[in-house]
């Protein structure tokens, strides 16, 4: 199975990279852009099929390594 993991900065955390990208888009005349947040997308190939136990293990991987929960949130999609 494949797990798709989206890591994003928490709302309360300033994202200077997103701000710079939003500024660039505005400068390119995409005036409708109000805000941009930049995150990470991680694909993990996993032996076996998706199940509850594997979901729990993926959460563990996120908490321990893939995300820093002081500043980041994550979302897991299993295929």
């Amino acid at each position: 199975m494949k797990a798709k993991i989206y890591v994003t900065l928490k709302k309360c955390v300033l994202d200077p990279q997103g701000k710079a990208v939003a500024g660039a888009l505005n400068a390119m005349n995409y005036k409708e852009v109000e805000d941009v947040r930049v995150g990470k997308f991680i694909e993990v190939e996993i032996k076996g099929s998706s199940n509850k136990e594997q979901e729990a293990r993926l959460k563990e991987m996120c908490d321990n390594l893939l995300a820093n929960t002081v500043i980041e949130n994550y979302r897991i999609e299993m295929e």
């Binding site: 955390v13 300033l14 710079a20 390594l65 893939l66 002081v70």
Partner: protein
């Protein structure tokens, strides 16, 4: 006094630390490869600056799982001094030995420059040679030095006097202009609850000799050596 300077793949200030400890302060020092399992026989551990594991994922995120980090945790638990400089600070936060996180600089640029820091707490094993409120000129060189922690953690750090250095003007005023990277409350260095683990973004090892333009970091090592704990 015997220092262990931990070398991760991608560390690049290990030689600066070694030089300062060995040649400026005439102490024993070893490079300790990140695969080492024990830190027995050492009196102080330094996690040097650099780009461990290429800063992949997040700065310090992968280094914190290096085999040696188990021994560093044990060493810290015993109350012995652990100093994390720059990438070393980032690794200590990822490892949970220090709270918070070092995020991308507010201005997004890698900043290599000499800054002033005000000594907020001189009652630590790393700063006792400074006068409280003294201003030291120490260089920084980082892209991810923007210290962040939630409001509750900051309140706790402040309340417990655990903010050790704060970015300031050369006169010692803590202003927004003197904050190079957007750190909350101009925080440049903090200690853990027990006071034996310090993380600092500025590089004291690069400011120990007149030839390098400043001796603002000299007193960090002076303090460590003076406060040497009996083995």
């Amino acid at each position: 006094m015997k220092f262990a300077i931990i070398v991760f793949p991608g560390s690049n200030c290990d030689h600066d630390c070694y030089h300062a400890v060995k040649h400026v302060f005439k102490q024993d020092a070893d490079y300790v490869w990140h695969k080492a399992a024990s830190l027995d026989g050492y009196d102080c551990v330094i996690l040097p600056g650099g780009f461990s594991y290429g800063d992949y994922l997040r700065t310090g995120a992968i280094a914190r799982f290096s085999p040696v980090m188990g021994a560093v945790m044990e060493f810290a638990k015993k109350g012995k001094p652990v100093l994390g400089i720059c990438n070393g600070f980032q690794i200590l936060t990822e490892a949970g030995l220090l709270p918070g996180v070092l995020m991308r600089n507010k201005g997004l640029k890698f900043i290599c420059s000499r800054v002033s820091v005000r000594v907020e707490n001189n009652a630590t094993a790393f700063t006792s040679a400074y006068k409280k409120g003294a201003v030291a000129s120490i260089p920084i060189a980082h892209a991810d030095g923007n210290y962040y922690a939630d409001a509750e953690t900051i309140k706790r750090l402040e309340g417990e006097g655990r903010v050790v250095f704060r970015y300031s003007t050369p006169e010692g005023d803590v202003t927004a202009e003197a904050n190079p990277n957007g750190s909350v409350s101009n925080i440049a260095a903090i200690v853990n609850e027990a006071g034996n683990v310090m993380g600092a973004m500025p590089h004291p090892e690069r400011a120990c000799e007149d030839a390098l333009g400043s001796i603002g970091g000299h007193k960090v090592f002076e303090s460590i050596i003076k406060n040497r704990a009996p083995r």
